[in-house]
Amino acid sequence: MGNFDQKVNKFIEIFWEQNGYNKVLQGLQNTLMIAIAGLIIGIIIGTIIATVRVLPKYKTLPKVLNAICSFYVALFRGTPMVVQLLVFYYVLLPIIGLKITGVQVAMMVFGLNSGAYISEIMRSGIQSVDPGQMEAGRAVGLSFGTSMVKIVIPQAVKNILPTLGNEFISLIKETSVVSFVGAADLYVAFNYIGSNSYEFMVPYLVMALIYIVLVLIISLLIKLMERSLKKSDRRN
């Protein structure tokens, strides 16, 4: 295993002495920022789409909105994330003349993409809430929107929290493609270390470890959150 020791030493050398750790921290920050921004934008978009999709549909406006939302979901679920990143960065943004960094583009695309997925998750969550809850809200004179926000969505979110956690985890893992548009994520950082030492085994191994640790921490956080949200279920 002398060979492996050498590789580890080389990695440590570049990591500490040639500013490798800075790149890794920067990469970690970008990865988390893209995933978190993606999740937040996604939840907002997803909730709006899900609400539109459960609207009663005997008027024209809900029908039109519903068609737009279906199109949106089909579009973003029907193309790979990498393609969306490339199209936004190299096609759409130049056309409208907007100059933003790779990280910002990635946040945007991740938000739009996860919005499409979360809308379906949220819709199943909303439909899992007893329709009587909405009726009771309407019966005391609250509007559809208010009943949704104050009564149905909080219960829906509680039901879908584990699935939402999965979505966040897969977002974190998918950030590994953002280097396509020049965003410096974890992959870019370890690639830098690897190419400086002509040695990729240890850097990529450490990268995998960091992803696993990230995901484990998030799973733990979700579990804690679920427990605190369960309080209205517990008998006391």
Partner: protein, 268 residues
């Protein structure tokens, strides 16, 4: 108070209500009975437009609320509703369940008044006097809710979630939740049908109290005892039409309609 004129309701091609006319005056306690599938629940749910009527009019306090252009939410605040399955808000405590709608609607009105005043300041128009604050509204609603809970003897349950309560407790809280809006009328949709037999009494007792206080009530029920003792009028709905309508004494002693005689012989 409520005038129902030629109310019809279809689900797809099935016509559930085939033209119902009814007048409900202030202080009336109308018990609606009928076999299952007769349309009695649908009728009740049409009264506050929980189901939109296919045709016909529902005149409530002078306004046709079956008209889709009317802002139904304003009128529903004056029409309480109590459901078979209670439908307490599961994500709110008992106190929040009762306070939610009064606080929200009054805060909305406050916001509207303030917005009006800000705009009116520019146009030198008349100001709406604002005499209350958000905190004041909350405080009053809390007091009112606690009084209502005290009335049904559940003030110690104010801060628990509905999942910890028995059916009878839930339904009584659902009734005071409707009361908290100071409604002109309360609609009851089979309020005791989902309860254990031993809990039916406590809910009926509360309803009886409300009746004695002069609350206008429309009750879809299978409790013939309640209909006989408390109701001022009993209505028999079958096959989507009112087959018979009379005072309880007359209604139970001398039923005229064939279907009603058959129905009463089965349930009494």
């Amino acid at each position: 108070m409520i005038d129902v004129i030629n109310l019809k309701k279809s689900f797809g091609s099935v016509e559930v209500l085939k033209g119902i006319n009814m007048t409900i005056n202030k202080g009336d306690i109308v018990a609606i009975i009928g076999p299952s599938g007769s349309g009695k629940s649908t009728f009740l749910r049409c009264l506050n437009c929980m189901e939109d009527p296919t045709s016909g009019q529902i005149i409530f306090n002078g306004v046709d609320i079956a008209d889709m252009k009317v802002d139904i939410n304003i009128h529903r605040r004056k029409m309480g509703m109590v459901f078979q399955h209670f439908n307490l808000f599961n994500n709110k405590t008992v106190l929040e369940n009762i306070m939610l709608a009064p606080v929200y609607t009054r805060c909305q009105e406050l916001k509207k008044a303030k917005r009006h005043n800000r705009l009116a300041a520019f146009g030198k128009k008349e100001q709406i006097p604002v005499t209350t604050t958000k905190e004041q509204i909350k405080k009053e609603a809390r007091e009112q809710a606690m009084n209502l809970l005290k009335r049904i003897g559940l003030e110690d349950k104010a801060n628990v979630y509905p999942s910890t309560l028995s059916g009878g407790q839930k339904q009584r809280i659902a009734i005071v939740r409707a009361l908290a809006m100071n409604p002109d009328v309360i609609l009851f949709d089979e309020p005791t049908s989902a309860l254990d037999p031993e809990m039916v009494g406590e809910v009926l007792e509360l309803m009886k109290q409300l009746a004695e206080e002069g609350m206008t009530m429309v009750v879809v029920t299978h409790e013939m005892g309640f209909a006989r003792e408390v109701a001022s009028r009993v209505v028999f709905i079958d096959e989507g039409v009112i087959k018979e309508e009379a005072e309880p004494k007359e209604f139970f002693a001398h039923p005229k309609d064939v279907r009603l005689k058959e129905f009463l012989s089965k349930v009494l």
